[in-house]
């Protein structure tokens, strides 16, 4: 393990762990499929860490804690999320509000948003050697589409442009617990997070439970093809954070 002391900083007499900054080893990156034309995956020095999970699974909390810990440990971090591209985020929002797009169109719209962020945010940050924390990645997009009956092979081809992350965490919370957490936070269920477009039930509460149960099933299926860490998100935030930190530490020193 490399330990580098910043020369200009006066060190305390007792060496605290904070003064030792671990320089992460560069591990070769891979594409999920075809990859992006003209981009060399081997030139990416940073690490890509993905946190997946439903709204209310503790994603944001855990990412905030990871950012704090990583920065304290001397790593530059960049956070990215879905629906954040310059190119189509506004249009995507409009489309969702009107619910006027059919499933293939919406799916491709999200893929465009993802590709734009991949090329303009994620890759440049990785090239610069930053830690990129993705608040959701293609697995959420794939799971949503699979629940909506999209073809698995079609999705695999589509997201063949994506980079294989260095670590993926899925914060697993049972729908019955999830619904309580959402209520505690905003006392209202979201139309799309309840899968109301699918017509399972005209009742928002019932639809939420059905939709989230199906999303959870799809994630478990995806886990067979794409290795990710299934994290029990029903425990206290401290315990979950400990798990994530341990795994990320092993990514950094791998």
């Amino acid at each position: 393990m490399n330990k580098i002391r910043p020369r200009s900083v006066r060190l305390p007499r007792l060496r605290t762990p904070e003064s030792a900054v671990i320089v992460p080893k560069v591990t070769p990156k891979q594409w999920l499929g075809a990859g992006l034309p003209g981009v060399e995956a081997s030139s990416l020095n940073g690490k890509l860490i993905v946190v997946e999970g439903a709204d209310g699974s503790g994603r944001s909390t855990q990412i905030a804690r990871l950012v704090q810990w990583l920065e304290t440990s001397g790593h530059h971090t960049v956070t990215v999320g879905l629906k954040g591209s310059t190119l189509v985020s506004e249009e995507l929002e409009t489309a969702q509000q009107g619910n006027i797009l059919s499933r293939t169109t919406l799916s491709l719209f999200y893929a465009t948003d993802f590709a734009d962020q991949l090329e303009n945010n994620i890759l440049p940050a990785l090239r610069a050697g930053s830690m990129v924390l993705a608040d959701r990645y293609i697995y959420t997009l794939m799971a949503r589409d699979l629940v909506r009956g999209m073809n698995d092979a079609w999705l695999r081809n589509l997201y063949g442009i994506a980079l294989v992350p260095d670590a993926v965490f899925y914060l697993d919370v049972a729908p019955e617990h999830l619904v309580q957490r959402v209520f505690a936070k905003q006392s209202q269920l979201d139309y799309w997070e309840s899968g109301m477009d699918l017509g399972f039930s005209r009742d928002l509460y019932d639809s939420f439970l059905e939709y989230q149960a199906r999303m959870r099933d799809r994630f478990r299926e995806l886990q067979r093809s794409y290795p990710f860490h299934l994290i029990n998100g029903e425990r206290s935030p401290d315990l979950v954070a400990e798990d994530l930190r341990r795994e990320v530490e092993s990514v950094l020193s791998a």
């Binding site: 499929g33 075809a34 992006l36 249009e91 059919s102 499933r103 073809n151 081809n157 589509l158």
Partner: protein
């Protein structure tokens, strides 16, 4: 390989024209549409790149030069999917003759020239049925270029293929870009069974041939409007 509308068992039929800008394909599909309409047949005509919502993103992307080969390809696929799922497919299921000025082959040619893997692009569009008849207007490259460039039009950045860095001169870039697209079309011709049209012929000769081919291949009486 995808199925055609007929193979999928839908009552409508899909007819597409493809070719370079300046190959005369838009003139021909327009004349075909008029002929079918005036016979009282159920006809719908669709152009490439025409859905309102995606248009806003496409024009923003082009204006601000935000597009890479991948996002260029994806945003056009999104646009096409919107048109396909909301317009084309319902009309086809309702027994219409749908005429398309450019179809997925335009994307296959253009995106592959921009560097996207051919299988990836074909996969993107695999949700769409293949046309029952695809006319490819094969004019010599020089003729097509002359038709477009002779009146020195203002070529848009992507239209001229300027994003590929082929040349700093938009006209020269356009020539090289169109040449590469032409090669892609030729390569696809047998893959997708294009009906080759000699675009150097007179307009009337071409139109006569299209009408004969259509009559031979499609039972047009089935598309008569019912009162």
């Amino acid at each position: 390989m995808n199925k055609t509308i007929a193979e999928l068992g839908f009552p409508g039929r899909l007819i597409a024209v493809e070719g370079l800008d300046g190959s005369g394909k838009s003139t021909q599909i327009y004349l075909l549409k008029r002929w079918l309409e005036l016979q009282g047949l159920k006809v719908y005509f669709s152009e490439w790149n025409s859905s309102a919502l995606v248009k806003s993103a496409t024009s923003k992307g082009k204006k601000q030069d935000l597009l890479t080969p991948t996002t260029f390809s994806l945003i056009h696929a999104t646009d096409f999917a919107d048109r396909y799922e909301r317009q084309l497919l319902p009309l086809i299921k309702g027994g219409y003759l749908v005429l398309c000025d450019r179809y997925v082959f335009t994307a296959f040619a253009r995106d592959v020239v921009r560097g996207c893997p051919p299988e990836w692009v074909r996969g993107l569009y695999s949700f769409a049925a293949l046309p029952d008849l695809t006319f490819f207007f094969k004019a010599s490259l020089e003729v097509s270029l002359a038709r477009i460039l002779d009146n020195r039009p203002t070529l848009k950045h992507h239209e001229a293929g300027m994003d590929l860095g082929l040349s700093t001169d938009p006209y020269e870039s356009f020539r090289i870009f169109q040449g590469r697209i032409f090669e892609q079309y030729l390569a696809m011709s047998s893959e997708f069974g294009f009906t080759l049209m000699d675009a150097n012929q007179r307009i009337e000769e071409q139109q006569g041939m299209m009408r004969r081919l259509l009559t031979a291949r499609i039972d047009l009486e089935k598309f008569r409007k019912t009162s």
